[in-house]
């Protein structure tokens, strides 16, 4: 696991100069703070706080969504996976990209037209049942917390690599600092401030990736074939890195594991609460659609560049040095930057990655605080009697609580694998969130009971299967006899589910439960409500419009 290597093996080795790294880090943090402060505005109403006044344009929001999506896990993780495993890392990125088409075609416009801030709004419009709204909040909070933990764990690994913070205490302090900064962004900036931080960060990330990509291609004489050839030549696995199967082709379980992961990736994005919430920051459905097209371009071009970055790191840095560095795969891009541009480029890349973590955790915190304040507090606890001022106040308090939870959780989770936590969040999102959204919008017979069955069923099955998978217990490295699971004691083994990713089982089951719960419901579906949500979803009548809309 990432953090273990960071703590033990290479305490002495820090790349670059920690002092310079620290100065550039501080500079980036300061710039983003100024942006958040200046963009913030008043944030008095719920629309301001949750949706940035619905005043962002499609391109602005599209870049911000891309920024949310290109978290440190994908920025550092995918390029690192390519650097170590070659083609199989590339396979990963394609699922992440294609999943945006599900968002664009099925979800973006209809969801923008029928909700105000959360998917709980959409389910409420269709089913008007308090328990369903509560269930939607529970699944949104669970997914956001998994995602938050992943980012916090990533922050610890990154900082240990770049600032030479290797002690457990030092990493805990780093995680606490990330938490404090994130709470500050959210309280001061609201959705508007956070979005602007996200936009600036996404642009910096794109420039940085483009620069290093061009640099690597220049080294390779602008020949992709030469780059691949040289990379394969310097890899211990040789030409095997140029094709699929290095990681996912070993056994039948590994093959089905990849198919399961592929299903979770392609359906997961359309269920991620922090992505869906961003659809509400634009004036109308047309702009929501336009944002997703921008996101597709940003994310797609970025992933294409990670192909060059990954093989570039394999060629110029080498698998052995990456494996030996703290953070392993996650350190491939920073090491490549150091190799090419020295301390300054390294520190800049690392600072952008750090800003990425800050911006993503801030976005997640807003989403989680909205799920609680808007769906649980205002609708379930107060039955819609709470005023907007009070709701925003509760949302702010929730943000602080979630920040503290994430810090404490992050301190425990720092030894977990970042990519694993993210894949988990995708599987849970596709199982617990997506079926009820699709059924609400498009299936006439959907009922409240069907919604509860699919949300809680999807949540329990996906999380449960992970607990009883080799990820948590019972996986042993045949060569060294060390545990490859979260539980280090190799004698404890309660894994009965053979796959790391639950998607192939939990996603179809969640759809099935939604169907079964509805058709066996004694209280039939209300055709008037279905007519209303479909008319609103497709025409946009009654949708809350933005200030420029």
């Amino acid at each position: 696991m990432t953090g273990l290597a960071a703590r033990g093996v290479l305490a002495a080795e820090v790349i670059g100069k920690p002092a310079i790294n620290l100065v550039i880090f501080a500079f980036f943090v300061l710039v983003t703070l100024v942006i958040a402060l200046r963009a913030a505005g008043k944030n008095r109403t719920t629309t301001d706080y949750y949706a940035g006044g619905r005043a962002f344009t499609g391109p602005q929001n599209g870049i911000a969504i891309g920024g949310d999506y290109l978290s440190a896990a994908s920025f550092l993780g995918i390029a690192g996976a390519i650097a170590l495993e070659g083609y199989d890392g590339f396979l990963y990125s394609i699922g992440f990209l294609v999943s945006w088409l599900v968002v664009l075609l099925l979800v973006a416009g209809p969801l923008r037209n029928t909700g105000r801030y959360t998917t709980g709004d959409v389910l409420d419009l269709r089913l008007h049942a308090v328990p369903v709204r509560a269930a939607a909040a529970v699944s949104a909070l669970t997914i956001s917390l998994f995602y938050l933990l992943a980012q916090m764990a990533g922050a610890g690994a990154l900082v240990s690599l770049l600032l030479g913070v290797n002690s457990t205490r030092g990493q805990d302090i780093t995680i606490a600092a990330v938490g404090l900064l994130m709470i500050f962004y959210v309280l001061v900036g609201g959705m508007k401030g956070t979005t602007w931080v996200q936009i600036v960060k996404a642009i910096l990330l794109a420039i940085g990736a483009a620069l290093i990509t061009a640099w690597v291609l220049d080294r390779a004489g602008f020949s992709l074939s030469a780059l691949l050839h040289d990379a394969a030549a310097s890899s211990p696995a040789g030409n095997a890195v140029l094709g699929p199967g290095l990681e996912y082709g070993v056994s039948t379980a590994a093959k089905f594991n990849f198919i399961s992961l592929a299903l979770a990736l392609i359906l997961g994005t359309a269920g991620l609460p922090h992505v869906l919430m961003r659809l509400y920051t634009v004036p109308d459905a047309q702009e929501a659609r336009r944002s997703i097209v921008w996101t597709v371009w940003l994310v797609g071009l970025f992933y294409l560049s990670t192909l060059v970055l990954g093989f570039g790191a394999m060629w110029l840095v080498g698998a052995r040095q990456i494996e030996a560095a703290p953070g392993k795969a996650d350190s491939a891009v920073p090491l490549l930057a150091f190799k090419l541009g020295g301390t300054l480029l390294l520190a800049t890349v690392a600072a952008v990655a750090f800003a990425t973590i800050l911006a993503v955790v801030a976005g997640l915190t807003i989403t989680a605080s909205a799920s609680f304040a808007h769906d649980v507090f205002a609708s379930v606890m107060r039955r819609g009697e709470a005023g907007p001022r009070e709701e925003v106040r509760v949302a702010r308090i929730t943000a602080v609580v979630i920040g503290i939870l994430a810090v404490v959780g992050g301190m425990y989770a720092k030894n977990l694998d970042v990519a694993f936590l993210v894949a988990l969040a995708f599987a849970v999102a596709a199982s617990a969130n997506l079926p009820s959204i699709i059924y609400s919008l498009f299936w006439p017979r959907f009922t409240a009971r069907g919604a509860l069955w699919s949300i809680y069923g999807g949540l329990i099955i996906s999380v449960g299967l992970i607990v009883f998978s080799p990820v948590v217990s019972g996986q042993v490295d045949p060569a060294t006899g060390a545990s490859l699971s979260l539980i280090a004691d190799t004698h404890i083994n309660f894994a009965f589910f053979p796959l790391d990713n639950p998607g192939i089982v939990s996603i179809p089951l969640a759809f099935f439960l939604g169907w079964l719960g509805s058709v066996t419901d004694r209280q039939p579906s209300d055709p008037a409500r279905f007519a209303r949500i479909q008319v609103r979803a497709l025409t946009g009548v009654g949708a809350e419009r933005g200030s420029h809309g």
């Binding site: 396979l91 699922g95 664009l104 419009l125 008319v535 025409t539 946009g540 809350e544």
Partner: protein
């Protein structure tokens, strides 16, 4: 004001839901979204299944070290860009005007 607050006016929506214009809009939406979704999910899983079960084919060289797998992967990117752009353009031309007309009529019908 939005209608989020005014509950129980669904019957008006039911009339629209049954109207010919809305049914045209819904048919048009489904006639493109359903086949395109089936197509891109199928195309993606074709890629995944070939990568998992026929890795040898993916290693076939096309030009130098560039092999079939890489070209197939890049084609997935190209098709994603094309579908995103194409769908948005189509929706703007074929869905939005019809949706806009229905919306205006409904807004007027609500008498506010």
């Amino acid at each position: 004001m939005s209608v989020t607050q005014s509950r129980g006016t669904a019957s008006g929506y039911e009339v629209v839901h049954r109207s010919r214009e809305f049914r045209t809009l819904r048919r048009r939406f489904a006639s493109v979204v359903v086949p395109v979704t089936v197509l891109f999910i199928g195309w993606y899983f074709l890629y995944v299944l070939v990568a998992v079960f026929a890795p040898g084919f993916m290693r076939t060289s096309v030009v130098g070290a560039v092999n079939v797998g890489l070209c197939f992967g890049v084609l997935e990117f190209v098709s994603t860009f094309a579908i995103a752009l194409g769908y948005n353009r189509w929706a703007r031309r074929r869905l939005d005007p019809l949706a806009g007309r229905l919306r205006e009529r409904l807004d007027a019908g609500r008498g506010r």
